[in-house]
Each structure stands twice: as structure tokens, then as C-alpha cells.
Symmetry: C2
Amino acid sequence: MNHFMDIAVKEALKGVKLKHGGPFGAVIVKNNKIISSSHNLVIKNNDPTAHAEINAIRKACKVLNSYHLTDCMLFTTCEPCPMCFSAILWAHIKHIYYGCTRFDAELIGFDDKFIYDIIKEENKSKKILLEQLNRNECFEVFKKWKENNNLIY
Amino acid sequence: MNHFMDIAVKEALKGVKLKHGGPFGAVIVKNNKIISSSHNLVIKNNDPTAHAEINAIRKACKVLNSYHLTDCMLFTTCEPCPMCFSAILWAHIKHIYYGCTRFDAELIGFDDKFIYDIIKEENKSKKILLEQLNRNECFEVFKKWKENNNLIY
């Protein structure tokens, strides 16, 4: 078994035993060295964003003192949900190794595939309603930012 | 202008002035009362996940002592990126009001649309590589969780 995935599995098991949240673990690696690891902490922290990958990204950013994790790899026991997948892209991580899939997660009751399908517009769920409001006033802030900054994400 | 969107715009402006991150603000409302508000804190916190919506969700969950924000509405100055949109679904928020769009965000240099397109498989980006590893060992943890818990997300 891959060494880093083994650590991710051990993280996931720890989370299950401690009832911290869902059965997911993640590890971030740079130059063959572990920078951070975490498991799902949704229940423990009362935080729906506290997925293993998000926690590991936040920890790694603290360690490396950067909001970009360029040249890092992520090992996760399950295909990242769209929240985590997007966080991985925002963090500039370019290589993901995953164990289970969104279909496996669905088998044990998780919404990963459901959310992917809504984003891919394969599921026109009535569960969520989006309405546009005050676009002009909001766009004024974009203009102000553009005038004053040259930050790149 | 909508009162809650006005607060979200003021949050976004505050973030721009303080150089905390991108020009985005968000407000969470329950029963016509503001539960939390935030702006983008990516730069200030060195945290690529610290988008306005994610911060507002995490704060509201602390206030309400729950990882579900059922019956809350979210006002955000820009259409949530896929990370935030998924976080909103994980949090069980059912109603989103947004100002600008992913296309507006692209105009000022943000990757929201790019990430949507990758998830929707409309962009086969070489920027990110996904590889499956050790699915069986990872699935063992899913089975253990399923045997021991009845948690619902």
C-alpha cells in the first residue's frame, strides 16, 4: 500500500473511532515529506466545511505560510467533493491521489455525487434557490478592487 | 437596495480597503436577522478557503451551535464559487441571493468560472491530475463507519 495513503487511511480511522465526523482522511506532501494531515471534523467542530482535505489545506498553508500550495500533492481516502476539489484548485495543488469515489461515498449516504450533479446541471434540484440582486452595486466593489490591486489568485 | 445585500457590499468594501483578500462579502440571515457576516480573508489569513461565504458559514455555525444552517439565507456579492456553493449545500442553506456572476469575477481575474468549467468537464485542464490508489483499503473505513454510525449529512 502507498505509504501516504496508508497515513490518510489511519487518519480516517481515527476520525471514525473518535466520532469526529465522516470516514475521510487526507495528507498533504511536498518533496516526499508530509506537511499536514487531517480527518473529517464536521461533527467535532460543528463546521460543515471541516472536511479532511479542507483541514489539511488550512494546516499546510499555516506550516508553509502561504495561501498557495504549489508543488504539494494531496492524498485523500475519497475523491474530493466539489467543495474540496475547488479548494485544491484555489490552493494550486496540481496532483491528487484518491481512494474511494463519489459513488462509493453515495453508498454510505454522503451527498458528494448529488452536489457534483447539481453543479454539472445533471440534477435540477429544487433543494436550492439562486436569485440575482443588486449586481451593479456589487460590481462597483469589483471595480474598486481592480483599480487598487494587482493580486493574482 | 436590499438591506442585507447592502451589508454584504459594505463587508466586501471593508475587505478591499484592509487588503484582506478579494472583493467579496457575504451575510447569513435567519428569520430576518443577521446571524453572521464576513469578507474574503484569503490574504490576511493565508488561507485559500477563507472566502466570504465559507467564513460566514463557519461563524454562523458557531453562533447557532450546529453544522446545519437550515432556514438560513445567504446574501453574497458574487455568485458563490463551486467551493462555496458546495459548502452552502453541505450546510443545508436553501436560498442564495447573489450580486455579480462568475463571468464578472473572471473579468477581474478570478478563477470561479474556470473551476466551474473543470467540474462541468467543459474544460479538460492539464492543470490538475487525479489518480486512484488503494480503493479497497479506503473502502474498509467506509464499511467501519457504516457499521457503527447512523449519522446523516
